[in-house]
């Protein structure tokens, strides 16, 4: 049965190393799901025997890093999961709780087999006994169908089990996902005592990867590290998906080679300053940057961190001049406070206090506003003090906002709330952004 689908020649379907896009190749602007037959025709088969022996070192050579937000080197994570010698478990993290991100949903809805290929290759390489796909309700059926097709064709070393990820910002946090996958509430655990990579699902060493990370793994497993590194830079090889909100036409997911100037990726021209007042990078646990910084940045986590920013899981929100940035910030902090799991004192009290403080500077009369000093103090106070990094994200978000919007803070303090506070929210909440992509792909000069 397998022979009808799996082609033995892995070079079939291999795209030109510098061809763009990669993950989004062949996906129209809108459209349906790429089924298994079409998928294998497009990309060729994976050689799992090869993966078992060589994928670990190939990934090491590729320099691939995680796309879930932390940017941790993939090969190093695999090594630590495999170290214990006990049979590990692979988790596809498709929860994508971040409201400003739609890239994982796009991959899982349109090209699920690319993500599942990555999970299968990982399972072969580290000898996993189970593969669990953790996806939100609206993707459940599609991913189940994809997993079913793979099972019928005996494609994978172990069958892929599909589980529902609850709604919510933190349900995709690593330990929350592990809890959710075991039928417990999807809330974080204090994992300093027992890292997930040592003791995760069923107490087994568990490899949790973001869905996009696994799609890149699928390409390295097929075409190797040299192919992978033909795009991007030496220090930031490959490509990344970005969810971009705030431009006319609504949110889009696009793919770009790492190292590309962001102005090019975002299609920003000389009128960028006239159109936008600032940008949020990395989502609601990310950082604000002013437009001058944005225009100078190249697309890489390293470049972002040099400017005290982060790309997080690949999120850019451009903020137009019609919005009050303080109102936007206050709404996000209120949302993030509400999304706290409510388990840790410093998170509960600290985010609550930050919420009150940000509401005051955005919406209240000057005499009732919290001082910027007290806000930055609260940010420092919550950092590193939760069981998960949710408060750290809020701290980063607010600290950067205080720096980038210093003149707006001063103006609110002098004159009270500005006339723009009633503008509709520019930042998305709750309702998931549509998984549509721009068909735009950028590569370095």
């Amino acid at each position: 049965m397998t022979s009808t689908l799996v082609r033995p020649d892995a070079t079939l379907g291999r795209p030109e190393p510098t061809a763009m896009p990669r993950l989004l190749r062949g996906l129209g602007r809108d459209g349906g799901t790429v089924g298994l037959g079409e998928h294998l025709e497009r990309w060729g088969a994976m050689d799992l025997r090869w993966a078992r022996q060589h994928l670990g070192s190939e990934l090491e050579a590729s320099g691939l890093r995680g796309h879930g937000g932390a940017g941790f080197p993939v090969a190093a994570k695999w090594r630590s999961v495999a170290r214990s010698g006990r049979r590990p478990i692979v988790v596809v993290n498709g929860a994508e709780g971040e409201p400003a991100s739609a890239k994982d949903a796009l991959l899982l809805a349109r090209t699920p087999h690319l993500v599942l290929d990555g999970a299968a290759a990982a399972a072969a390489s580290i000898g996993a006994g189970r593969v669990l796909a953790y996806v939100p309700h609206h993707l459940l059926e599609g991913v189940q169908a994809a997993a079913g097709a793979r099972r019928r064709h005996r494609l994978d070393p172990v069958d892929i089990e599909v589980r529902e990820a609850p709604e919510g910002f933190i349900s995709g946090q690593e330990s929350a996902a592990v809890n959710g996958l075991q039928g417990r509430p999807a809330l974080p655990s204090f994992i300093v005592l027992r890292p997930i990579r040592e003791r995760g699902v069923e107490g087994r060493p568990t490899l949790v990867h973001n869905a996009e990370t696994l799609a890149h793994v699928a390409l390295v497993a097929r075409y190797g590290a040299a192919w992978f590194g033909a795009l991007g830079t030496e220090r930031a090889p490959g490509t990344t998906l970005l969810t971009v909100t705030g431009r006319p036409g609504g949110p889009v997911v696009q793919e770009a080679a790492l190292g590309t100037p962001l102005r090019e990726v975002l299609g920003l021209g000389p009128d960028a300053r006239r159109r936008y007042q600032a940008a949020l990078l990395g989502g609601y646990g990310g950082t604000w940057v002013d437009i001058d910084t944005l225009l100078e940045l190249e697309l890489s986590e390293e470049a972002a961190r040099r400017r005290s920013a982060t790309l997080g899981p690949g999120i850019v929100v451009l903020l137009g001049h019609d919005s009050c940035p303080l109102a936007e910030v206050a709404r996000v902090v209120r949302y993030m406070n509400g999304e706290s799991a409510g388990q840790c004192g410093p998170c509960v009290h600290g985010l609550g206090a930050l919420d009150q403080a940000l509401q005051s500077v955005a919406f209240h009369a000057p005499e009732h506003q919290a001082s910027v000093g007290s806000i930055t103090q609260l940010c420092a106070l919550v950092e590193g003090r939760g069981a998960c990094r949710h408060p750290d994200g809020v701290s980063r978000f607010v600290t950067s906002a205080c720096a980038v919007f210093a003149s707006e803070l001063a103006a609110h303090r002098r004159l009270g709330p500005c006339g723009r506070i009633g503008a509709p929210s520019a930042l998305p909440f709750g309702g998931r952004p549509e998984a549509r992509h721009a068909g735009r792909a950028t590569r370095p000069r």
Binding site: G69, K77, V192, P195, V208, G345, G350, R385, A387, D392
Partner: protein, 96 residues
């Protein structure tokens, strides 16, 4: 020779009783809401007994002794250096 160690607080277990800051003020202070802030400074030999008492007396068993170096303390899925629980701290301390 005793290994370098540090104390971490499990913020989920911690209910902000504040006993630890009373027993080990050299390295533990309280935030405005009464939850402990643990200093990064190493726990020197002369402080081991105080540290051990704080760990043992926590009514919620929220304090843990770990090998230094620090593992950032939070674990948002960012694998750092593997940190190991140290089974026992001060002589006579409660076994964990």
């Amino acid at each position: 020779m005793r290994r370098a160690f540090r104390i971490v607080v499990d913020p989920i277990a911690c209910c902000g009783e504040g006993l630890c800051a009373e027993l080990f003020p050299e390295r533990i202070s309280l935030d405005p809401w009464g939850f402990p802030i643990l200093s990064d400074e190493p726990i020197t030999a002369d402080l081991v007994e105080h540290a051990g008492r704080a760990v043992d007396m926590c009514p919620h068993l929220a304090l843990h002794v770990m090998d230094a170096p620090a593992n950032a303390g939070t674990g948002g899925g960012r694998p750092g250096e593997p940190a190991r629980l140290v089974a026992r701290l001060a002589p006579g301390g409660r076994r964990r």
